[in-house]
């Protein structure tokens, strides 16, 4: 930090406190002293400013975070140890770990966990593979490359709600366009909403549609940072474009790929809007047989349909623990990749 500005002409300072001395009649004798006092006060104020303003600048973030992030986070933990109903949220009855032990015996919890994993895999893996391919294509010299990029990103601008409503119609059993197209190639009407795998596939499709372009742009950004001579020397060694992609592009993108895996995993764990709206009027059950009920949806069902806020809190913490495990696994993979580099 720069030192306080001692050299600044004091005469220019408009200090409201300074005029008091003149009225006191102390001015003639104490001009120098008053000036020094003024200077001291200024530099004190300056030091205070330099010292405390950083805290003032970061304070809004932390105040909001404390009020709407940290406090709720801890309170969720506290609520998960109680019996709390949505109808009377202030009546909390201590039950210890019962909400958690019930969860472990609850077939719908395990069902939701299984669905979250399968839908997560079905949406994340193809999404990231496709994004990698699209990014590679966008990285060529192309006419209208900005158009392709913006078009790839438009699904990202479409909300979960709007996207899901359209896909519900496209995946309709009787008049949906997907079944119509499948009919053209001789595949019979698929019941996208009621089948176990088909419904999960349809929900995954919505996720894939919304996020592939977004991930492609992230990969594209990383690809543009890959040094060009790597490709040139690979080409000199006789590597085909495909071999360049596998041996130059993909290894260079290791960290970005890991980053998108983590982000997509977090997103998949929280999947909520797609399964909620894909079931139409059925609401929070995720299909008639809970066939696509995710953890996020199950939390909603327990808390806001069945009104058990304590149990919903326990589900929230369970989700958090699962995320931490996933994060730890990702970290271990990252470390191994880092070593092999």
């Amino acid at each position: 930090m720069p030192e306080p500005a001692h050299g600044r002409p004091v005469a220019h300072v408009k200090d409201p406190g300074a005029s008091g001395h003149a009225v006191d009649g102390t001015a003639p004798r104490g001009t120098d002293a008053a000036a020094r006092r003024r200077r001291d006060r200024r530099s004190r104020r300056y030091r205070r400013d330099v010292r405390w303003s950083p805290y003032a600048f970061v304070a809004p973030f932390f105040l909001f975070f404390l009020a709407f992030g940290l406090f709720p986070l801890l309170y969720t933990g506290w609520a998960s140890l109680h019996r709390v109903e949505l109808t009377a949220p202030t009546d909390m009855e201590w039950v210890g770990l019962r909400n958690f032990s019930r969860l472990l015996e609850d077939e719908f919890f395990w069902n939701a966990l299984r669905n979250t994993v399968t839908i997560g895999l079905m949406s994340t893996v193809p999404q990231l593979l496709m994004a990698l391919g699209i990014a590679h294509l966008l990285n060529y010299r192309l006419r209208g490359s900005m158009f392709f990029r913006v078009a790839a990103l438009t699904p990202y601008a479409t909300s979960v709600a709007a996207a899901t409503l359209v896909f519900v119609l496209l995946f309709g059993r009787d008049y949906g366009m997907v079944n119509w197209a499948l009919g053209l190639v001789g595949i019979g009407d698929v019941d996208w909403q009621n089948g176990q795998w088909t419904s999960q596939l349809a929900v995954s499709t919505i996720v894939i549609w919304r996020w592939t372009g977004y991930n492609a742009l992230i990969y594209l950004a990383a690809m543009q940072a890959v040094p060009k001579d790597l490709y040139e020397s690979a080409a000199l060694d006789g590597a085909s474009p495909w071999q360049q992609f596998i041996h130059v592009t993909v290894p260079s993108l290791r960290h970005t790929i890991l980053f998108t895996c983590v982000v997509s995993t977090i997103g998949a764990t929280q999947l909520f809007g797609e399964p909620l709206l894909f079931s139409g009027g059925a609401g929070a059950t995720g299909g008639a047989d809970h066939q696509f009920q995710t953890l996020g949806l199950y939390l909603y069902e327990q808390g806001w349909v069945n009104l058990h806020l304590g149990r919903a809190s326990a589900i929230a913490w369970a989700m958090f623990l699962i995320l931490l495990v996933v994060g730890a696994v990702n970290w271990l993979i990252a470390r191994r990749l880092g070593k092999s580099a």
Binding site: P54, F61, Y140, A151, S159, L169, L170, Y175, A316, M319
Partner: protein, 282 residues
């Protein structure tokens, strides 16, 4: 984006295959949106026939009108504009302040606090909705927009984004010079930091606006469809059978998406640049 020449990685011209594959992908990206408009311009009876319609009908304005009035889309659009606007403005301003402090100022606990900021990005929203819901119920804020605005007014991503940008874009000498001239911290922020940060502020503002516009999980808990919905809450209500008419539902979906699509047509280049920039640095 900088110029094309000499750009690392742009090693080859795209061949026919690249164009064909990209055109297929682009068609897949845009088709559901175009079809939303087609379905919104048809009657419900026409949608319940095979083959499904592939071109526009004549009912668009009528369906939009029904969605506007019956499904509360007018209120919802206004509400969402207020919410997304406030969240974007708050996030941009607070993030710039905090990002500047983390990028350029020295203070105790700085690294620990920065780690805390990054750590908060990992906390899923599910972990806070139960107490937040109790809180707004206690304050009788159900159906009021501040219950959606306040919890998302700051963002860890925003702080981190602005910090990364200002580390490079803001020369330390400029701040020192202003300091020597006797400028207080607020003056420095106003006259030096804000102008230097403007491009990143614009990008962060757009990204935050899009995210806030599309936010779903918390608004659907805090607001009700019949009371004071955002667009997403109103759309969820449409999907859950308040209005059984599919073409009107599609008209609602179109209304809820159109403002952002227009923004994409106008600012697409900047938004794409912003996401790519955030990706490299984040």
């Amino acid at each position: 984006m900088t110029g094309r020449k000499g750009r690392a990685g742009r090693h080859l011209h795209g061949g026919k295959f690249a164009y064909a594959a990209l055109i297929v992908f682009t068609a897949g990206s845009l088709f559901p949106l175009v079809w939303t408009a087609i379905a919104a311009s048809r009657t419900n009876t026409r949608l319940a026939q095979t083959p499904p319609p592939f071109w526009f009908g004549s009912r668009l304005f009528r369906n939009l009108e029904i969605a506007w009035t019956d499904a509360n889309m007018g209120t919802a659009l206004l509400n969402t504009t207020v919410v997304a606007g406030s969240v974007a403005a708050g996030t941009v301003v607070f993030s710039t302040f905090a990002g500047y402090a983390f990028a350029k100022l020295r203070f105790r606990l700085k690294n620990a606090l920065l780690l805390l900021v990054i750590g908060t990005m990992m906390v899923p929203p599910q972990l806070s909705v139960v107490p937040l819901y109790m809180l707004i119920a206690e304050l009788s804020w159900t159906d009021q927009l501040q219950s959606v605005i306040l919890p998302t007014l700051v963002s860890a991503f925003g702080v981190f984004f602005m910090r990364q940008y200002l580390m490079e874009a803001l020369p330390g000498e400029l701040i020192e010079a202003a300091r020597v001239d006797g400028a207080g911290s607020l003056r420095v922020v106003w006259h030096i930091v804000f102008p230097a940060a403007r491009p990143a502020m614009a990008v962060l503002g757009m990204l935050t606006f899009v995210m806030a516009w599309n936010d779903f999980f918390w608004p659907i808990l805090a607001l009700t469809q019949s009371g004071n919905p955002t667009v997403q809450v109103a759309l969820a209500g449409l999907g859950q059978g308040y209005i059984p008419d599919q073409s009107v539902i599609m008209a609602g979906a179109l209304l809820g998406t159109l403002p952002l699509l227009i923004a994409f047509v106008v600012f697409g280049r900047q938004i794409v640049g912003g996401i790519m920039q955030g990706a490299v640095k984040g």
